[in-house]
Symmetry: C2
Subunit: 254 residues, 2 copies
DNA sequence: GCTATCGGATAGTGGAACTATCTAGGATGG
DNA sequence: CCATCCTAGATAGTTCCACTATCCGATAGC
């Protein structure tokens, strides 16, 4: 098919497809003449994946490019792709806000000058980060998780926990860790199960990426649903008030 | 304190603080004279919350404004705030990527127009969406979750599942649902437990918001860790290869 | 031959999140 | 009282990102 049909089939505009090709997300079509190219179902599939990663997964175009490059490189071991995937997420939502606007002030380190603490090794942490790191390390040790503590997932976790502490919810993590860890193990087992049937690398690796990136959204949504249910049961304020009605006054808890 | 000290304490630049005040995220300081204002610890707390929501939670400034407005409005019932929170996330990552970039294809994912058809399934859906909706409805029924199917969390879930189907992973959801649902219930129970001790509305509502928005990141990170562990155990490829051992290239995003 | 479409290149758009500058005026130490 | 900072508020500018728009000459299919 030519680009017009690819566009029609996927709902992505022609200029946008060209843009993705330029950015390296989508391989160019096979040229049948100097100014005529042919796209196949693989392109269509890839394009849908791109849209899903951007639209649902919330990745930036650059992050998608990295992830797809990892998928496409057969020399990259599967676990490296998973690590990459983690990084894409971290870059997007957590640690570095790599995606958008300047990162001038906050995160880079202590260039702001007021931190003053340049000598202390081990991360140059503030108080909350150090405490969070200790909690995460304790968790990993307790569970016997065989992970490298330098993993960016661990780093993301430390940052999230530290942020909570900074906001006055330093007790959140310790209050929920065990349940969360049980849940995480449950989920991870299902995830592994899902991809374990796949034998060829491409299929496996894509399953990991899709399952991880889109799976996060699935989990978040299901968590909301389960929260709503648990809350409804506890306060018995009806079947569920949906999103935004002016129902009864603030539910008195307990 | 004055704005300079607020800036120093939080690491947020003075112009940015002013920007947040303009955008309604942070209440203005108490004026002690026409050009002198005083900020207190509540401002500091709020500012830290804003940074956490934007930096870790990945919310847009506009979404943070909405969430904080909901927190601050005592007439808004707690469940409405939770719904709002869900919406912020959907707007950000799932539904329409409303945060940045385009989204020409229909701003509010939530059917701005008259969706006359409610109650019965199937709107103007494509094949994948219809199938996903059926799966989600079956899940809710099976679990006996007392939730309104129009809830935006349900909608997010449908969209994520549909996107997976479109990408060739239509079997993902059915293969993992039960484990995920168990995990979600586990998590939701811990979440409810966490806020159940709180009696005053402000503290409760803030706990819900922080726990939900930042909690998602905690869960995602822990899932990565558990996946890495499960994978290491299954393939026994050493303790854990970390993120970027030589060949992986993309290790550090950014 | 005719016209809609194509590939490729370059430039432009609009939104988001800051960031810089300017104007008056106040705070503070000497 | 004065010099030197800091401040509030307003307006304009910057940077990044994800697209869009417009050209151009060439080509497909009738």
């Amino acid at each position: 098919m030519r680009i017009g049909e690819l566009s029609r089939r996927t709902g992505v505009s022609v200029p946008t497809i060209k843009f993705y090709v330029r950015e390296g997300l989508l391989p160019p079509g096979r040229l049948t003449s100097p100014n005529q190219a042919h796209y196949d179902e693989e392109h269509e599939r890839r394009l849908r994946l791109i849209r899903a990663l951007i639209g649902i997964g919330g990745l930036s175009v650059a992050a998608v490019a990295d992830v797809l490059a990892a998928i496409d490189d057969p020399s990259r071991p599967v676990h490296a792709v998973l690590g990459m995937t983690t990084g894409s997420i971290a870059g997007h939502g957590a640690g570095g806000s790599a995606g958008r606007g300047g990162d001038r002030s906050g995160k880079g380190g202590e260039e702001a000058g007021e931190d003053g603490e340049d000598g202390s090794e081990g991360g140059g942490d503030d108080e909350e980060t150090a405490a969070a790191r200790a909690e995460v390390e304790a968790l990993v040790a307790r569970r016997g998780w065989r992970v490298n503590p330098r993993r960016s997932a661990a780093q993301s976790l430390v940052e999230a926990v530290a942020a909570m502490a900074r906001v006055g919810h330093g007790d959140f993590f310790e209050r929920v860790v065990e349940a969360y860890a049980d849940a995480a193990e449950l989920i991870a087992r299902a995830d592994l199960e899902y991809v374990s049937g796949r034998t060829d690398r491409d299929s496996l690796v894509e399953g990991v990426v899709v399952g991880t990136l889109l799976g996060d959204k699935v989990i978040a949504a299901m968590r909301r649903l389960a929260q709503a249910d648990a809350s409804a049961r506890r306060f018995d304020d009806g079947p569920d008030p949906a999103d935004g009605p002016a129902g009864t006054g603030g539910g008195a808890p307990e």
